[in-house]
């Protein structure tokens, strides 16, 4: 059962542009929404995360926008740099009172930033 959907599958942007990655979910009990990035041969690493009490979370050039009503959340990478080229995964979990660490992942977006 596919519970977290991610798009696009791949994305190419010019250096300095904003990359936008989208995710949607089905399970209303999800209450923690992280984004991970993964460079080739390396571990997936937590980039930024949000909980439904907020509709926006910023960390430097990375911003999550969250729409609880539509069950959608997105990652915006502002002023994209070639070093941002990686695979990005969105995920969701029942973090409060649930089985933490049991993340449901999206399919991933391969981001390429060209200069």
């Amino acid at each position: 059962q596919q519970q977290v959907r991610q798009s696009p599958q791949s994305l190419t942007v010019w250096e300095g542009e904003t990359a936008i990655l989208n995710c949607s979910y089905e399970d209303s009990t999800f209450d923690y929404f992280p984004w991970y990035h993964q460079f080739p041969g390396e571990s997936p690493a937590l980039l930024i995360a949000i909980r439904p009490v907020s509709n926006k979370k910023e960390d430097g050039r990375f911003t999550i926008f969250f729409n609880k009503r539509e069950k959608k959340f997105s990652l915006h990478i502002a002023d994209s740099q070639p070093g941002d080229s990686a695979t990005y995964f969105c995920a969701a979990s029942e973090d409060t009172g649930g089985l933490s660490g049991k993340l449901t992942f999206g399919e991933g977006t391969q981001v390429t930033v060209i200069s």
Binding site: P34, S93, S100, T104, F105
Partner: protein
């Protein structure tokens, strides 16, 4: 930052053989996880493990799978016997806190190829 090490990075075996994937979690972590990622698909939760016990497992965690962490050494995933559909990248993760996935750290994965 904290590192989860996975050994080996690649493993090729014949169908029907047994394989053990090893994970060296972050030293003070108590909660351990395995995820499976088939090529081109998303990572999917297999199992989590705490205090010597499986706490929850998904439908992907077949009867041929087992996990253990004898005497605080490696956290292992054993598949016996292996099947062709077990070919995937297996990610180990560990966390220090049951209540939040924010403390979850992933290894870089073991690519298992079953011939």
């Amino acid at each position: 930052g904290p590192k989860v090490l996975q050994i080996p990075s690649h493993q090729i075996i014949d169908m029907g053989q047994m394989v053990t994937l090893n994970c060296d979690p972050v030293s003070n972590h108590l909660y351990f996880y395995w995820y499976k990622q088939i090529l081109g698909q998303q990572m999917e939760f297999l199992v989590n493990f705490y205090n010597g016990k499986v706490m929850e497992k998904s439908k992907l965690f077949k009867d041929q799978f087992s996990v253990e962490r004898p005497d605080g050494s490696y956290f292992t995933l054993k598949i016996q016997p292996t099947a062709l559909e077990d070919s995937a990248v297996y990610f180990c993760a560990s966390s220090s806190d049951w209540t939040s996935a924010e403390t979850l750290y992933f290894g870089s994965g073991t690519r298992l190829t079953v011939l």
